[in-house]
């Protein structure tokens, strides 16, 4: 066991090291070794930057290497890396929260009511067929360039994913379990609270993990199209200056934001679904 774990870790680090080395020096080496025309463009630092440049850009954008000092640098730039990250994280979080809360509520209500499910069914299918990203310019027109339009975009992408899973989960609740609860004295509301919701929770969580990534995508796209702050805005500005290393900094920070959010959802999931075998606390 520990043997294979060491082996896995070894290969993971080896791959990381190889990628970083090729990224850093690959272009120069291939220029020296290969005939002209065979040098892979994908390695050109003009397009993909390189680790050392990205690190320098990170220090600069993060105000670690500013002559005026950290505090003054932060003040002087209202879309510095820290503020941009904070804004993007905050908007993603609220969009995710509102989106999943309303998706869960709508899924439960329609899942429990055949009548409402039939009335609203076609509308939901129709709305779901619209590529959400196509609505972003409209959302920005309505809610402006501020945070609200980013939260609304994230809401749009999150809602349907969570809604459909909650709806299916509510439909899949064991009828005998509901009958058992009734026979033990449960009211309609108690059945919902003590049987339907816990039972559908596994389905809900199956959608929450992708929903977090979707929320982040929604916010970033919103920031691309029209924003004052945020990581997406940072990328657009770097693109205007053809600065690949700054774009890479923003992309890496997004990766960490995404990982952070996924970890948060996962730990909530493994607590709430601890009755399921795959989330059993390891001994």
């Amino acid at each position: 066991m520990s043997n294979s774990r060491t082996a896995i870790l070894f290969w993971q680090l080896a791959i990381l090291a190889a990628v970083l080395v090729i990224w850093q020096w690959g272009f120069e080496w291939s220029k020296a070794l290969l005939p002209k025309g065979y040098v892979p463009k994908i390695l050109d630092p003009y397009f993909v930057a390189k680790p050392s440049l990205i690190w320098q850009s990170f220090l600069r954008l993060g105000c670690f290497a500013d002559a005026s000092g950290f505090a003054a640098c932060i003040k002087g730039n209202d879309n510095n890396l820290w503020l941009a990250t904070l804004v993007t994280l905050k908007n993603t979080w609220w969009g995710f929260l509102f989106g999943s809360a309303s998706g869960i509520a709508a899924g439960l209500i329609l899942g429990r009511s055949d009548f409402l499910a039939r009335v609203f069914g076609p509308y939901i299918v129709a709305l779901n067929s619209i590529p959400r990203i196509a609505l972003v310019p409209l959302v920005i027109l309505i809610f402006g360039l501020g945070d609200l339009s980013k939260i609304a975009t994230a809401w749009l992408v999150v809602f349907f994913v969570v809604f459909f899973n909650t709806f299916e989960g509510t439909r899949a609740v064991d009828r005998d379990q509901i009958a058992a609860a009734r026979l033990l004295g449960a009211s309609e509301f108690t059945v919902l609270r003590t049987v339907v919701i816990p039972s559908a929770l596994a389905w809900v969580f199956a959608s929450l993990l992708p929903a977090v990534s979707f929320a982040l995508i929604g916010v970033i796209v919103g920031e691309f199209i029209g924003a004052e702050r945020g990581l997406g805005k940072l990328i657009i500005e770097a693109e205007a200056r053809a600065n690949a290393s700054e774009m890479m900094v923003a992309i890496f920070v997004m990766m960490f934001v995404g990982i952070l959010l996924a970890i948060a959802v996962r730990s909530l999931q493994s607590y709430l679904l601890r009755w399921q075998p795959q989330f059993e606390p390891s001994v």
Partner: protein, 282 residues
Amino acid sequence: MIAAPGQGRALARDEDQTAAARTRIAVQGLAKRFNASGREFVAVDDVSFEVKQGEFVALLGPSGCGKSTILNMVAGLLPRSGGRIFIDDDTVEIGKVNPRVGYVFQRDTLFPWRTVEQNIGYGLEIARLPKTARAGRVASAVEKAGLAGFAQSFPRMLSGGMRQRVALMRTLILEPEILLMDEPFGALDTHTKLEMHKTLLEIWERERQTVLFVTHDLGEALTLASRIILLSARPGRLKEDFDVAIPRPRDPVAVRETAEFGRLYSHIWHSLGEEFRRTRAD
């Protein structure tokens, strides 16, 4: 209704029945018809019987004879197509839960997200009994089910027998006077089944609930019941109704060696055999 030879209802029972024992369940002219792909078929046809206070009645019949359908109509889980059902003096209605009635399913209906303790305490919890008042009753029910040490386990960690014990206790903790059981041990292996019989006999011989127990297992009916109602093959009709005069307390293994068990076993075996032949002849 044909009485088994020498087994008239007037014979002394082992139960503390008096002629004046109160009728708890009354089924009158009960019928159930289903519509399957445009064709109507009769599942239950004109079934009438009564269950008196403290009786343990087994509803026995071949598979598909409608015995579970009858039980589900008595429980108010299924609408009836004809006839009447009373529990005490109240007509049974769909969706109206009678707190004096407890129901045990054949299928596992435990809540997998609740621990053993939380499953057993479910009824008390939703009745808003404070936690401190629940704890004692739940602990003693866990004990009675022989599940001490498993109170904090989730159902998936338990064996089939243990799970069905939890299900039984989840119902019994509410102290129902009438118990409806739908082949509760049908999915268990022989050994576990005998253990469950022992548990149920101990509880029933102490508390004497009024029980209506659906089964297709002849041995099980004879082991547990004080009276057996035999149903015909589809459509389910009443075929025979007789007492099981095996003295109590009963032991699920020893009971099989009594003369009464052997005599009734072969009698019902032949009676059921006719039904199986009829089904096949159809």
